[in-house]
Symmetry: D2
Subunit: 426 residues, 4 copies
């Protein structure tokens, strides 16, 4: 990627953050209903500060910060960059205003473009590599923007819609195929990113893992299938749940996935296009690891490991193109029937729609070393007490995912687009 | 007060709420940094819903609510009016937007004006009485708007100023008079509101209290005097503090009044006109009851009772006119020197500047009966575990206060304009 | 009181603490089920350390502490005596053992007796005064021992009984007299302790208060009367409750007084003699201020002020003798019928049975000054956010009470023997 | 194992629980200073109830519970056996008394012995298998008894000693060997228990794992080595810590391992024989996963995986005999020099002394299925958010451990005997 290509890529990614926020009112930008959910304004500022801290401040002589307090306000968790506002206090700040934040964005964008053009050739290779990382970082925040906006709207009793109902692209629906289990042979596999493009350090080193024979479901678990679990009393029977999961169910009063609501005996689901009748054929989403695991237990199956998932995806030669990602503007997982026109492969919905919980803990690959400095805080320090998800979702950009991509969340988190694919021993 | 007078009064009060918010950015309207501090938008909506619930809904046949969810969103604590959002969640709502809330205000204002003109003569007397109560209610929220805005700005690391420094009215400063103690004779006094105008039910019945001979300080405690307490180690010595107060000091890490800040060895104070050097002659403000009591203890004095305060104020024939109230647009307590041109009386700063903590618990007067229905929830149900304050502040409207006015807060609250006047036994 | 009288008084009081603990198993001495309830062992140690800190350590040259860590372990809240174990951690200590604590008691008792005999005549008057205070302090802890033991036993699912059911003294029961209201004339009264005996500093100075004409119920509210409130839905209707009270009812899930239990449609009450059928004629007990106030509100009455209570008690010439105090070993309030043989007065049950909530905040009397030093921490620093109770209970020693005695508790506390007497305006 | 052998084994294990408690005072049995630490009495009761619930109640016709409330009081977390006391309330119960609990133990022991003798031959094989499981369960609680007693004594300011200092077996100390890294070759290994004896279900199925070449330290990390980390500022530098670990360090104020204490510039350690000078050559213990990982990070090494640990232990042909287990009555990890007389092998201290943290999450082995019924609650439901430890400790019985044994704890727990062995990639 040369300088002008990087500039175009940079501008394209920057624009997506702004596109996502375009439907918002000013008030929507400042709310933090729970600690996990940041104000959209904060995401916009944070993804600008990130370039300032990593590039402008380091590479431009005598650079003076755009604003002396923005590092405090917009730093997320980088101890290397000093003190910062407590995570649960991001929603206590009305200033900088949305407009000031947008001006900050514009200023950073402009200076970054200039830096891309002018940086010394000697520094170019590493600079380019880190800019691409920073753009992937911004893309992660774009997914968070969508899921945080959804949460903000869902907790409001007025139930505003992010987009008008009916504005989604037309789809043609085929019948839902039965769930089937595809066989994959065991053996020693190489796991991890092997290409030439961008990858996160947590996808490397490529290393060997022994994978036993296994079977993987040809498609995601649907709302209808999950509803059977709910209505069979799954949320009232400890036997299906991990101990911590059962404590969570009781403490939080969970009775169904996040955003499900029963009105006059019928199930509805809050979406980015407002409250809608639950589509029994669409993939279930917004479930925690605890719920995914309990559903698998109730079903007599299990979740796949991340290695199994990767082996299957590689065997099927999957590519992100065509998946239900951000780019398709559905902003919700789609019933498999919608996709069948496009994808004849036996293994459906692996990429896009929902992140798929695996039963693998998020831990370093064999040989992984955390890099020194701020970028070492990016991934390595979170490698504990989280589980891996694979595949990307309807809120992920298509060019931000890979079959080796390791997403990770704590086991009780539900506000991302997360779903379930079942597996069995082979 | 006839119909057109009430209309003018009504419109005048309504306008003040909007005037107070005029300097805000949209983002400032939605923040709730702590439970006590509501988003300005919420105050604007709440003070509109209040008329709808009390008048429009009750008196207009087939009245249909402006919006079906606003009662839930804008009810504060009226159990009589049904369920409502939890108090600490007011800052989780981006909608209704500020503009929608303003439209709601305008619609309510218009319908109320029409109702004032058209209501049946038979219902007029009680209606008028309750409208005046509701306007006083809105005036209370105007004071809260100012103190909540101050808190919102103060917690922001960017430290925005509500009004530009230097925008305050010019004042001519005389030397600060010494603190002197004025004598008041004891005896059986009638306490409570005796006039013909508006009063809250908690100011009645007029009843007898025995008051001992007492002495009351001629002016408020100043920042300079309070700073002596701070610098003498007052916040590190348990001996001056009530037990609950000492626990609070340790738990909250209090070292000075709210909004005081020591920078390079010098004390500053955050005001509605930004951070300013501490004015040693201005009255201390933003102290809790615990701090007021500890300061009095350290000084070898005590706080006055509310009866003493009322007896002294009545003896001095004080009137709100001329006091440093909202109307004077200082938005901060003023040094006594500023007032001396206008007020030759020996007893200074009783009305306006800061609410003065008394050592009286907020309890019903002899013979008090809580009224039935929602208005019974206005005052009576809070008569426990709070202390009475008297006199109004620089954030109170001059026509909203009286010498019999009983304000009340929990003993640890500091975000109102609250100060200290000392007393002694006679 | 001369030296040998003081010795006898001292030994008599010390013995009561041990008598109260005699029925306990070792294990019962170490439990702290909630912060308010201290382990019995702690009370025994604390009331010994108190003499050591106040007398032995101050008056015996070169006195060396019985154990270097006991001041830390057994200090309650005396900042003057240095750091101490956190209040909620008293139940984390298995050592000193019960036996070691008893040895500590015995050693302190012996040294105190010696000191009483030998102290210099010049120091005798103040010493005697303070020893009597310290004995009253121990008597307060004797009441706490009984109520804490009751709580410890009540929270145990095995429901052990402190004393065997049926072990109470025989009583002859007359019919319950109707509740009547006795009239008392208003005027300026002298309030506070006026005798020559022992009193706490908070009962002084004697000072004037204006008391309006009032009526006071001739007896306590009974379980039967309170049950009517419970069964009329009193705990489900916000209208009777102070706002803080209603929050407490909801948060704690209160449905009846502490220790009431409904089994197969019938009400039971846990007592120091185990679970017993609710006696409809016995006074209701273990109610918080919130409940007492709500019951009065529901009844169309109010609670008396502490001045009214004192005026009435003085008018009736009441004496503690004969009341249902600790000395009678009932350990539970008795139906009025039981007392009628002994007390023909019209105003019943004022002394003993249960502490009676008044609507008076616990604040200093006019002219009150906190003394310097540790004894200044005894009463004065608690004069905030508590309400006054009067009259003593079945767990109070008869020689520990007076009609001027001011007990005080926070408004949500229920584990003491606290009940209700109603009043009306005159 | 035939019936009389099982009886002897049963009686031997039962006795150990009682031996462990023999040095305690009655008071020590009832304390629960933090939720993790149960009262010793509870362990004694729980390990008796366990046999009653699993065997007596199921296998003896018309069996009636020893006490109707003991199931509630002594059930730990078995949902299958109904409601039970909240985990953090075990320390609120003074009854059943220690003596009653001992009588319960004796009664259960007797009935179990009888059942072992008399149970129907048809049921014998499964019964024997489950009794052996239940005995291993009791052995786990024996380890908890020792670590809970240690915590109870350590939190007491009197610092009682469980055993007298100097009562440990005499040891001969050789010089501490240098830390060296032993090489192990990679490949596909069979992991899991392959013998004929007892194992927990989580050690099975035997399954393949690919293990890369690795190096394992020949001995445990010592106090001296860990002290270097502490004194180099390891607890003040975020760079070495996982993000959750760093939050824990700050929140809990950790500055060194649990039980370390700096007195006059010298490090001490609280042990089951009281406070002792830190032995620089003894293995560090009472560290959390976070601390073990941070130390490894600071050292430029890593923790081993559980597979690596098992591969190395199997390669070395290790046997529990001779290790520093409960049986040797040291009750504290020993310097390696002490062992050298006995163990010439190159890989030291693998078994006994301290549990060794691995970097492996506690998750099911390939093919693992949770069994139905109460025994399914034993291990499977905890397979989330915990890390595996290997090797047993000085508080583990020698006949309770195996090289395939998987112990597991949350990453912030420190009160067990847990230490560190470092590894490197090969």
């Amino acid at each position: 990627m040369n300088r002008s290509q990087l500039t175009r890529y940079f501008l394209r990614v920057r624009k997506v953050s702004e596109d996502i926020c375009a439907p918002l009112e000013v008030e929507d930008y400042v709310i933090q209903p729970i600690m996990d959910v940041s104000p959209p304004k904060w995401h916009l500022g944070h993804t600008s500060w990130f370039y300032e801290a990593l590039f402008l401040d380091k590479l431009i002589p005598d650079y003076s910060a755009y604003h002396p307090d923005y590092a405090f306000v917009f730093n997320s968790y980088y101890e290397s960059f000093g003190t910062r506002i407590q995570r649960d206090s991001r929603g206590t700040l009305s200033r900088p205003s949305v407009e000031e934040t947008m001006q900050f964005r514009a200023a950073i964008t402009e200076q970054m473009c200039e830096l891309i053009e002018t940086i010394d050739e000697a520094k170019w290779p590493e600079f380019r590599k880190h800019v691409i990382l920073a753009l992937n970082h911004e893309q992660q925040h774009q997914e968070l923007l969508l899921t945080d906006i959804k949460f903000i709207f869902a907790t409001n009793p007025l139930r505003p819609a992010y987009l008008a109902a009916g504005s989604e692209p037309a789809v043609y629906r085929n019948p839902l195929p039965d769930q089937r289990y595809l066989n994959f042979p065991g053996g020693v596999y190489e796991i991890g990113y092997q290409g030439e493009g961008f990858y996160y350090d947590n996808e490397r080193p490529v290393h060997k893992q022994y994978v036993h024979d296994f079977k993987l479901a040809n498609r995601l678990v649907t709302n209808g299938e999950y509803r059977d679990f709910v209505e069979a009393g799954g949320y009232r029977d400890f036997r299906y749940w991990l101990s911590d999961g059962w404590e969570t169910v009781k403490r939080e009063g969970w009775q169904a996935p996040l955003y499900w609501e029963k009105i006059d005996g019928e199930w509805y689901e809050f979406t980015l296009r407002g409250l809608q009748k639950l589509d029994a054929e669409a993939p279930v989403c917004h479930v925690s690891y605890f719920e995914a695991d309990a559903f698998a237990h109730w079903s007599g199956k299990r979740l796949p490991t991340e290695a199994e998932w990767e082996v299957a995806a590689r065997a099927a030669g999957l590519q992100p193109e065509g998946g239900n990602f951000y780019d398709r503007k559905h902003f919700h997982p789609r019933p498999l029937g919608d996709d069948l026109r496009r994808k004849p492969e036996p293994l459906h919905q692996m990429l896009g729609d929902v992140w798929e919980w695996t039963r693998s803990a998020y831990l370093p690959y064999h040989g992984y070393r955390q890099v020194e400095g701020p970028l070492g805080e990016y991934n390595g320090k979170f490698m504990i007490n989280q589980m891996v998800l694979r595949g990307g979702s309807c809120a992920t950009s298509a060019d931000h995912t890979r079959i080796t991509y390791r997403n990770f969340f704590q086991t009780d988190k539900r506000w991302q687009f997360k779903g379930i694919r079942l597996a069995e021993d082979g």
